[in-house]
């Protein structure tokens, strides 16, 4: 303990060793604590992508507010859209505190999004043409998000773990909101059932892609090894995808949906779901902002950012008239 009194005098190696001891002991790392560069960079990449995805995800969903079939459904989806924006606000704060040593802030995050340097989640590059899609997004896209996010509830980085606690609690509402829409449709007319099956088929590949490729070699890079090494998460992409299958495939079948992949089955010996791989080259293109809706959604965000520029200028404390 005595050698800890002068933390600043420790060598980089000693600081690193102490850092690893802290996370191994379950301690939480805070924004101003010493951390390895690799840890900071991995967190910034992960959390800024997560945060901006929440905001980009609210865009396709908000299109459904005026078109939702009943007042109750409108209120429900509106509350969800508001939550997604709130999650974005929380997560961007976490990312911004990590970026501070590099002199970057929210303005830079927005500019990185517009320039394509900051990616957003593959699912938010896709179209949501029917009310069936709106329900399916709530049920399965949020379901997939719950699987990845709960895996990081005990992340070694305290601010992220605390943000996820709040987010996951609200995601439970989102998932049930989606289930309620899907349930109403599958118990409805032939046409409504077909609408859900259609949305399921349309989203299947995106849902497989959601967890990322099993090996880094598939797309050339992956943060899964670094995030596991530093106790940010515990499971690999493939383990998370398998968890998703185990939780949701039986439910999908129980409400009469057909699996879009007819070869898919559970292998009793390996205890794994066997399925056809999505087209990972397509995935690479999508996250490079070459998906079907990438440009349109970025433009929406860009427009709202520019339209509100005068507000940022007018309210800037530097322009205050005393």
């Amino acid at each position: 303990m005595a050698n800890m009194v002068s933390f600043d005098r420790l060598s980089e190696e000693e600081k690193h060793a102490r850092f690893m001891e802290r996370i191994a002991a379950g301690e939480k790392i805070e924004a101003d604590d010493w951390m390895p560069e690799e840890y900071r960079v991995a967190l910034i990449k992960l959390i800024s992508m997560h945060g901006i995805s929440e905001i980009m995800g609210a865009l396709p969903e908000k299109e459904w507010v005026p078109k939702a079939p009943t007042l109750r459904r409108k209120l429900g989806i509106m509350a969800k859209v508001q939550d997604e924006m709130g999650h974005g606000q929380l997560l961007l704060r976490v990312a911004e505190d990590l970026m501070k040593p590099y002199g970057k802030n929210r303005e830079d995050i927005m500019q990185d999004l517009f320039s394509g340097d900051l990616k957003f989640h593959n699912v938010f590059h896709m179209p949501a043409p029917t009310w069936g899609d709106a329900g399916l997004i709530g049920w399965l896209v949020d379901g997939a998000a719950i699987i990845t996010q709960t895996n990081m509830l005990h992340a070694s980085y305290g601010p992220y773990a605390r943000a996820l606690q709040r987010i996951c609690a609200e995601e439970v509402f989102h998932a049930q909101h989606g289930e309620a829409i899907i349930m109403a449709l599958t118990e409805g007319t032939q046409e409504q059932r077909a609408m859900v099956q259609d949305a399921f088929n349309r989203w299947w590949e995106s849902l497989l892609m959601f967890f990322g490729p099993a090996q880094a070699s598939t797309t050339g890079s992956s943060k899964q090894d670094v995030t596991i090494k530093y106790n940010i998460r515990t499971k690999t992409n493939e383990e998370l995808r398998q968890d998703f299958f185990s939780k949701y495939i039986p439910r999908a079948l129980s409400i009469g949906l057909q699996l879009p992949d007819s070869t898919m089955h559970f292998d009793e010996e390996s205890k794994m779901w066997v399925y056809q791989q999505p087209d990972w080259n397509k995935f690479k293109q999508i996250i490079k902002n070459n998906g079907p809706k990438s440009k349109e959604r970025l433009r929406l965000r860009q427009l709202s950012y520019h339209n509100n520029e005068w507000v940022r200028e007018a309210l800037s404390p530097m322009n205050k008239v005393v």
Partner: protein, 116 residues
């Protein structure tokens, strides 16, 4: 650019869930001034939970401990004389005198008529 940077001021948000509960730190947010910080605190953190009071504090006004200072918060394990733990033997003593020990639970129950 400078004006834009100045727009994003950091605020820490604290709130009370009930009148009896202590203030609890919620999270931080960015806002150009404290009025908007207050509105955003409600929008960002109090969409569902009950809340009876909110504070927003500019982060630059908060003096935080750094990593080394936090290390000095560790307590030495020799302070039983400060706590009831160091006087636990009294329970047995009082039993010898056929009396009950007036412990923390008993004493804190004395306020009012037991109603909250």
């Amino acid at each position: 650019m400078e004006a834009k940077k100045a727009f994003y001021q950091e605020y820490e948000v604290f709130s009370k869930r009930t009148y009896k509960s202590p203030f609890q730190h919620q999270f931080s947010l960015l806002a150009p001034n404290e009025e908007i910080a207050m509105v955003m605190a409600q929008e960002n953190f109090m969409r569902r939970e009950p809340v009876v009071d909110i504070w927003v504090v500019k982060r630059s006004e908060v003096r935080k401990l750094d990593e080394t200072e936090r290390f000095a918060l560790q307590r030495l394990d020799n302070k039983q004389y400060r706590s009831t733990k160091g006087y636990g033997y009294l329970k047995k003593k009082w039993r010898e005198y056929e009396q009950n020990m007036l412990d923390e639970k008993e004493i804190l129950s004395w306020g009012g008529d037991g109603k909250q």
